[in-house]
Symmetry: C2
Subunit: 340 residues, 2 copies
DNA sequence: TTGAAAGCGATACCAT
DNA sequence: ATGGTATCGCTTTCAA
């Protein structure tokens, strides 16, 4: 018995047509939602199709239709524990619309231009980008007519659709509570300069503190990860000679690093001796060992909004850019001393 | 001034050809690596191309070439903190080969068949799958001639390329050390039944224990996440009436949950009163608050192997299936009492 | 309802 | 080295 099944060449609609004794057009119609086709032919076709294992070539479809049903998702740092959740949500939601995700992750922010080349090449129906884009790059999307939604980024100089979590509002809650609880010696662990939300959060925190008359706050930079959070805490302690009772971190991962540094490297109790707050509300933030005081981004709603906006713009690109800002939710936690 | 830039229709090679005063074939050749074209024409073409912002239509290329330069990456639970790292590695490495990632994440394992439909439709050049596939599904790949590499899965009944981390070997180290250190009362927090590695790890752990004469080990199931790890610990304590000095978890996240449960829910010291071991070596495992005793999967080498194998099979599908097994590295940590 | 034929935007083979 | 032409697998008029 010859088990030489080598159907290298995928089944085409012609194969199905021949097998079903109908025209190729008929086959095509069977796979198009609102096509006019008789019950009889449809039956014949479907039978042949399933028998042969026929699946319409999405590539060919895309070529003729000019709709690839592909959406590019560009994420700079997948390693940031915040993004897996976002990515999972996005792919799932897009799938509902019959849209597939073409994933691009940047090793360096400088790769953006290379990535965009690919994006143009695949004639994606749209893109969701959580990475820094220059105004020119954004305008490139518009010039090419590729719908774009920025995720947790906005670019003043080139208006376009975006969904964000309100950094300023979040920090205001955090810093406000810290002030109210009587903290005096603040320190900030910022994110990398090229992070929009990172800078936004720090800017806002500093603003709140300034309003309360607190200036010259020491700021150190981290890379949004545990290690640099831990190192950042150390730097702050050194810079302040130990006079430090509140540390504001640009994200949860660094906050967690800071908490561990305080407890294990400096044997300072959190929150009685030093308060630490983060931002994002990632999974580990709620783990018992940390129980971080932070702002939880409404990821579900944000991803839903992003997908909705994108699909809307794909359907009709004429409407004006919209910026949607979601408030985060304060997770009180217990890494900061608050007066309730 | 009319700023009505609405080049809805993307630039094609014909546009470039016309603009450069050459044939469309010439344009095509300019974008093909080893094509024979004169310096002069190439220059003209490239000039026109960059001017118009031309980017070859990858969809059309794929249609005629029968190579989409697309690889499907199927991951069941992106929420498992282990996968973001894998995913980032994979996309980056595939990008090196000029291959783009079509990402599919499953909400339910039952979605696999739907996902596979999409995969067939896009005529991907290959697939890397970290999800449970039935033998029929695997054979479907072979029938359709789509190269496939399983990641941390193997299916005895349908041989195919795969890369795995040695679960048995890892558990042997872990359990061996626990036994050697004189632990007596073991408990296991297993993963979901449909996880290959989960079952493999538990099977192996039980085997090691049996060899040491330890039988009737209590086993509870979790979902590979923090919450169920914590709950699992509680269940074990209840089942054993508190006689428990070593907990073997099928992955790190559950181990972390178990550690927190021990410390915070039961006020038992880890590791002096109870040892906890995990598996994976995810980022949080090394955080100071946990410093988990676990097995670190060599993700870099594994993803590299997966990509290499896939590209090799894409280039030549005739070679026999290969199974590559990587040893994990013991991270001693301090969540388990070991004799050194 | 159905089939024939014209593209979609590239590649590849063929003469020139 | 260059241009003409068939082709990839589908959707979409257009007649019948």
């Amino acid at each position: 018995m010859e088990n030489k099944s080598q159907p290298k060449r995928p089944i085409t609609s012609y194969d199905v047509a021949r097998h079903a004794g109908v025209s190729q057009s008929a086959v095509s119609r069977c796979f198009k939602p609102g096509a006019s086709i008789s019950k009889a032919t449809r039956a014949k076709v479907m039978k042949a199709a399933t028998l042969l294992g026929y699946q319409p070539n999405a590539i060919a479809q895309g070529l003729i239709t000019r709709r690839s049903n592909l959406v590019a998702v560009v994420i700079s740092s997948l390693t940031n524990l915040y993004y897996p959740e976002v990515l999972a949500e996005l792919t799932q939601r897009l799938a509902v619309h019959g849209v597939k995700v073409l994933l691009f992750s940047l090793s360096h922010e400088s790769d953006v231009d290379l990535v965009l080349q690919q994006v143009w090449g695949y004639r994606v129906d749209g893109a969701i980008v959580a990475a820094r884009l220059s105004p020119e790059q954004i305008r490139d999307f518009q010039k090419r007519g590729v719908p774009l939604v920025l995720y947790n980024r906005v670019e003043e100089r080139a208006p376009c659709d975006s969904v964000c979590c309100d950094s300023a509002g979040g920090e205001r809650q955090l810093v406000g509570s810290l002030l109210e609880a009587g903290h005096h010696h603040f320190g900030i662990i910022a994110g990398p300069v090229d992070s929009y939300v990172g800078e936004e959060r720090v800017r806002s925190a500093l603003e709140c503190l300034a309003t309360a008359g607190k200036r010259d706050i020491p700021v150190v930079r981290g890379e949004f990860d545990y290690q640099t959070g831990r190192a950042g805490f150390k730097s702050l302690v050194e810079q302040t000679g130990g006079k430090l009772d509140a540390v504001i971190c640009a994200n949860d991962l660094m906050a967690i690093g800071a908490v561990d540094a305080a407890r294990h490297d400096f044997e300072r109790d959190v929150p009685s001796e030093v308060s630490v707050v983060g931002f994002d509300g990632v999974g580990p933030a709620t783990w018992l060992s940390y129980n971080l005081t932070t702002i939880r981004q409404p990821v579900r709603r944000m991803t839903e909004a992003a997908v909705t906006m994108l699909m809307a713009r794909i359907a009709d690109s004429s409407n004006p850019p919209e910026r949607r800002l979601f408030s985060g939710q304060l997770l009180p936690g217990s890494s900061a001393r608050f007066t309730t």
